[in-house]
Amino acid sequence: MPATAAEPDLRSSKNSPSPIAGAAMTGTIATRVLGVVALAAAVVMALLALWVSPPERVQGDAVRFMYLHLPSIWVAYGAFVLTAAASARLLWLSRATSPSGRAERSIRRLDRTAGAASELGVLFTALTLVTGSLWGNLTWGTYWQWDARLTTTVLLFVTYLGYLALRRLPAEPRQRARRAAVMALIAVVNLPIVHYSVNWWRTLHQEASLSLTSDREITGEMYWTLMYSLAAVTVIALWLGVHRYRVLRLEDLAEEDAIAHLLQERRAESADRVRSDESAVTR
């Protein structure tokens, strides 16, 4: 891959220390501010959800799980949609047999975006399942029910675990990226099924708490706490996503660094051999 200002040329690093060390310091003021904002948002969210928001009439304090449960699945949906969008663009750009250097760099960036977003999606789906299970134990009296929403969410979780397994298989980066992109486009079909499962089947799980088309069931402080939680969890997810993207970039750089190092060693070996052959001929 040709080098750019953003992605340093590792092959020119003959006598200098590995550029990975420099690349590791990639934090910007914006990302540090984002980190501080995410931390503050989490603290305020905890205060609102645990103290300010009132208990619900029927469920009591158990309803407080909602402030983490709902934003988690919304963020997971968003992350999986981003994975699919990045994958679609990646496949579009990689149609050419030998893409230009610019297209190649875009493909790498899109692959990392899809990778980071899918990991976030899996993390937040797991969080949804855990909080849902704990909430269910308090309201339904059981941690697990073979309910349509729960079952389809587990299937979604396993689908994306498979996607991550596919991404981890040893393969040439371009090949791995394109295979993963195809899977991301198929896997995203499961999203509407998870979302509409509560309408399509008779389930224990309640229907959507908030709707754009009908009157909302949540009002007052509970509504605003939920809206705030959604914004806070989104900021936290963004911050995690930015850092995961960076780690993926560093992994790419490390891989290229290792290859460049091996090539350098082989070249040095052959140069030594040529020198010794020449000296033998001279003698």
């Binding site: 496949l91 149609r95 298989l169 393969a171 198929i186 896997a187």
Partner: protein, 222 residues
Amino acid sequence: MWRDAWLIFRKDLMIERRARITLTQIVPTVLLILVVFAFAFDANASLLGAGAGGLYWVALLFGGVLGAKRSFDIEAEGGNLDALRMGGLEPAAVLCGKAAALAVQLAVIGTATVAGLLILYSVTVDDWLLLVVAAVTGTAAFAVCATLYGAMTVGLRSADTLLPLLLIPVAAPVLLAGTRAFDVALGNSADQGWSWTALLAVVLVTYIAVGWAAAGPLLEDA
């Protein structure tokens, strides 16, 4: 394009006719699944009858995983896939032909499974038209999905274990909608059977669109 697809379709079915893997190995395995389920539910006839729609699709899912694996194993051996690419066949045509051949094999498995349900589980069919249309649409959707995943994992060292992990959860829409449509056709539910069949058709069209877009990258990298 269609001529290429027809060639691949005929080739795959010819190989299958000679090897008879579907008839002699996959169909008996699927029937064995029905028998094992009967053991698991202690031969409770009412329970088995109520779950027959789901069992059909579960059996087809397992049969499909085996079929998809075999469909691409024959291409991985001896560099057949490279030969197809070098032969100038369109990638979309190759996948289309392979998906159609797999759909025919799955139809054979599905027919045997329905016969097994009628005989072993004593189920009765209320709406044959719904049953057949849902079975054909769902089988086609699953065949396209399984072909894409077969192409995705061909040549990988861990393909044997990876293919079921990737394919089974992603085929959930087919399993869910197919089961609901079959429940109505078998008289186990008063749901909207044709709506579920329409959902199967939407899933089929989505898989075909993704397959069409992804055929080139998938086969070039295989």
